[in-house]
Symmetry: D2
Subunit: 347 residues, 4 copies
């Protein structure tokens, strides 16, 4: 089959590779229709996370069931499906606590040996282990273009806001108006935020944030803490979603949030630590959460909201490219010339 493979730092190619087969009674094979290029794929692309040359990349997908193992009862060949970017087994102690993102048998598709050594989704066929847990049928009338977002960045944003305990009427600041941040703005509306403040340094992103209903704040041009306070009765927002990663923006988030507020960090960074404010934090009363998204927990609610049109994340897609043009897709996205690239594997 054809698939996007890693060759070398900043070089990917579309090659012929062996198609996967069913290996376990709970496996499914999915014929991929659309596969996304995600911001976290760039960590591999730049060689920051190790992956062997020849490995198939990608973890965002939507497609149709091709075959299922004999332990699977809910899926039939031909069903349209989407799934979380990471897998879970459904039965380990973490899965039983519904903390699927901590599954002892977990892994991320196409993300190298540190993440379960799973085949990637930018390919004609994807093997999905524990497919009883890791696939969802598309509700009627939900287009694949929209549904694919449920598997990763939209649910990441959704989970980040829910785990930051977003309550109706809250004011929310989103630090970083990239794909995840834009998703968060859209989700925050649906979850009942009364005011959304978007902080970034790139004018185009801020324009898009504004078009989704956020108040844009350009941190190049004004002090974001001061501006955010003035927009929130001089208190600071109830919740800050940090969608960049790194010590500087986390410190900004903790400074900006109102006393008694919450900071939820979903941005990915390799910094070993950052200085958490202690004496001031004690007086201020802070709740801080950091973690990868627990997509399995939220994907059904997200799919319901997508099917009804309350969430329309496909609006951020800037490029639909045929699978064969994946190398160009990576380049465009890496140079920030594309906001979101979807690869059309099968038209």
């Amino acid at each position: 089959m054809r698939a996007v493979v890693f060759e070398n730092k900043e070089r990917v190619a579309v090659k012929e590779v062996n198609a996967p087969r069913l290996q376990h009674p709970l496996d499914a094979l999915v014929r991929v229709h659309l596969a996304g290029i995600c911001g976290s794929d760039l960590h591999l692309y730049h060689g920051k996370i190790p992956v062997l040359p020849g490995s198939v990349l990608g973890h965002e997908f939507v497609g149709q069931v091709e075959a299922v193992g004999e332990g699977i009862q809910d899926l039939q060949p031909g069903d349209w499906v989407v799934g979380p970017f990471h897998i879970a087994c459904g039965t380990c102690p973490y899965c039983r606590r519904h903390q699927y993102n901590l599954c002892e048998r977990g892994g991320v598709y196409g993300y190298g040996p540190m993440f379960g050594n799973l085949q990637g989704a930018q390919a004609e066929i994807l093997r999905v282990p524990f497919s009883n847990v890791n696939l969802r049928k598309l509700p009627p009338n939900l287009s694949p273009e929209r549904a694919i977002f449920a598997g990763d960045i939209l649910s990441t944003a959704y989970g980040g806001l829910i785990q930051g305990q977003l309550r109706p009427g809250d004011s929310v600041a989103v630090i970083g108006a990239g794909p995840v941040g834009l998703m968060a703005i859209e989700v925050a509306q649906v979850l009942g935020a009364s005011k959304i403040l978007a902080i970034d340094r790139i004018p185009e992103r801020l324009e898009r944030a504004a078009s989704l209903g956020a108040i844009p704040i350009n941190a190049e041009q004004e002090n974001p803490v001061r501006r955010v306070r003035s927009e929130t009765n001089d208190e600071g927002p109830d919740l800050v979603l940090e969608a960049v990663g790194g010590a500087a923006t986390l410190s900004l988030a903790l400074e900006m949030v109102r006393p008694g507020g919450r900071v939820s960090a979903v941005g990915v960074d390799n910094a070993p630590s950052f200085p958490f404010p202690l004496a001031s934090g004690l007086v201020k009363d802070l709740t801080f959460r950091i973690g990868l998204a627990n997509v399995h927990l939220y994907i059904d609610a997200v799919l319901a909201l997508l099917a009804s049109g309350r969430l329309q994340p496909e609006r951020i897609v800037s490029h639909y490219l045929p699978l064969e043009e994946a190398p160009r897709g990576y380049e465009l996205f890496d140079r920030k010339e594309a906001l979101k690239v979807l690869l059309v594997v099968r038209g």
Copy 2:
């Protein structure tokens, strides 16, 4: 001062009455600008709830502080304020549990001797007891026409949905598309419902429900249970808000809701009981809540959502009438020729 007084069954008049005075250090006097006529005022109007002739009616208001007792620190004369339709003391065991609607010293403005014997709000000046607890300043830029809804029907709808545990992505059925039901449709959008089904028998109400984003279902023309099921994957909605009152619609709600779903009843009725399904309820797994609204608990979130424009309940106002035309306002509303009447006490 001028005020709307009850005279006799189906007769109200605008008369000169004694203006109230501060009686307790926590009292405030409010100069009323707008006062609403509420569906529950009609219970008095029709003589179903006793009230002495000459009593001032009304419990929906927005206005400006005229004077405060010496125990009040947060309010100044001139402040624009709104308050819940019922009062709470803030310190009894129920208030300390934040169940303000059960306050041991509670009462409803202008609702007769069974409800605390408080002066009504359809008057030039309203005395507000425990004004530290029972008034909220309007956020900047919030118009009185919009703010008045926070004190009663909007917060009733909001509380009914929250206490029915509305979760993002849920499907919601609203039985009754009168003023409270229409508020509930608007609120359900803001709280993240994926699908809203409105059930009524009056085409105009259903049209309005549809214009707010609900799927209208005319119970005269089709079986509402069957239709609701077909709109919700043959399951039934996750949550049913009953906004009519009475045994028939409550039974409908419990029949309609999906297994494991929730029914929240906010409609007011005098029926002593209704037959709760027992054997089928046990298998179906039902959660049922019935109660008057706990407005104090939700009013700040509601005001934030009003101030940001996410809720625009003033769209349902059909008539702004001068105070002197209150009798006509009651008649129009009673004959269902008005959807919502606001009395302009002070222009």
Copy 3:
């Protein structure tokens, strides 16, 4: 193999029947060591719930894994296991909502054709479908005698209290001090109840309730509503757990609970309906939940509390009988001469 089979109304026998086999990749076979006789088994015994003659009875068990299907990774032959009295598939829409008690493929072991037509557990070998979902390994040092309670009545009581939203410091009334009621008293202590009131009519049960820390109230001898009020600052308890079933005790529960309180019904009854108080309920503000237990959701917490000795439900066992004496066990239990019977299938 040997098993307890239903013969006729009020007649069970121990007979030789065909041993079950693995039928599906997710099945497991369990060699049963202990099997309980449950209050709900008496519904079959008395012919109130239909079951074919020759069917194997029972749904409470603890034992060791004998064999597993090829889709099972977490279980090995020899593992000690316990499981909920009802099965769930783990993947249907209800299971994905974690409402396992509403599973579309659900059923109760040994409970006849209306409940999934599954083989019962009072047998040497039990086939467990979807054993990835329906079995739990015993934590180290947890005895089978104690562990068996996690699968049914203890988790039923636990779930009834949790779903009744028991909060630390609450006062709790338990109506019915039979096995489930006694479990509830023990659980309520662990969940932080400040005061537990046990209502029954049988002195021996009330003595046992008192020995577990409850205040016993004999409804034959005093007015339970009045007594409960006087024990709770003249308010009524925060939560009432109804563990009898039937219109009379449900009405009592709704009358007894304090305004703004909660009633959770776990008692099983065939009455079609009961009169729910409407006008008074609206003023009182009631939350009412009725449903079968969602054991899967609570069993891991329950097992942790059993393993640490915080829950010691085996104290209510009155009789350990060999499997061959099952007929006598049913008789003793039916005549209320036994409080709890465990059948020793394999010593």
Copy 4:
């Protein structure tokens, strides 16, 4: 009146000072019977938190109402009362959110100009501002010796565990077995912890922790992370309560907690910051909360548990001293020769 006053670093004295008077309609005067010496009083004693010489110290008290302002309806002279160590106004935006510990008009009794400049409680009479919010009547049969703990360290421990989202069945590690840590052990039992691990370096404290049901771990003698893991299925505890303060123990807490677990910090320290693990935290999925206790939110539940005898914190009192011996009490407590000192102001 007689009162304990700060004189100089490590010197307090009992002196005659002016008795307070009612200043506001919501004030109350309390005749103090017992006043505690708290660990946080030592910060003043050592000059780490500024307080003017001659200021009255102390913030733990129980006593009887002496007089109330004219705005107070719930209290009568002679009522036995206890109150939180800090005050709240009940009406500012933070109080309306029920975040009383962040009250805009807040302050700590006897804690100097940085904390509201309020008179202390180690005195014959205490003025309580906003006494409608800041006092609670003792339930019948609750002794003053037990009740005094509701106002500070017991509710601090309770709040720390609740805000750390302690769930029934959880394993809990408590770092620091001083007075707050010991309270936390007692509370964790009542909240349903399945296992409690107490970490300290002082054998006497660990013995006492063990007597309350915790597993004692001496960090001098063994690696606490390794030991805690081995006690929790090699995972780490679900919740860590940090009751020491400071970077070292906070880092230990974050290292020790299981993936997906929670750390709640209630220990007070002046360190400006500590290094929060970032890359590992993201993978581990951490929730971290730091803040002063929100006593007002929990005190009613705590009082109910004290009244019923489920909590018996007075067991940790090592010394009851007459007010005149307060200087000796401070010395004993500072030298850790006393575990808890209560000053008997009025016998």
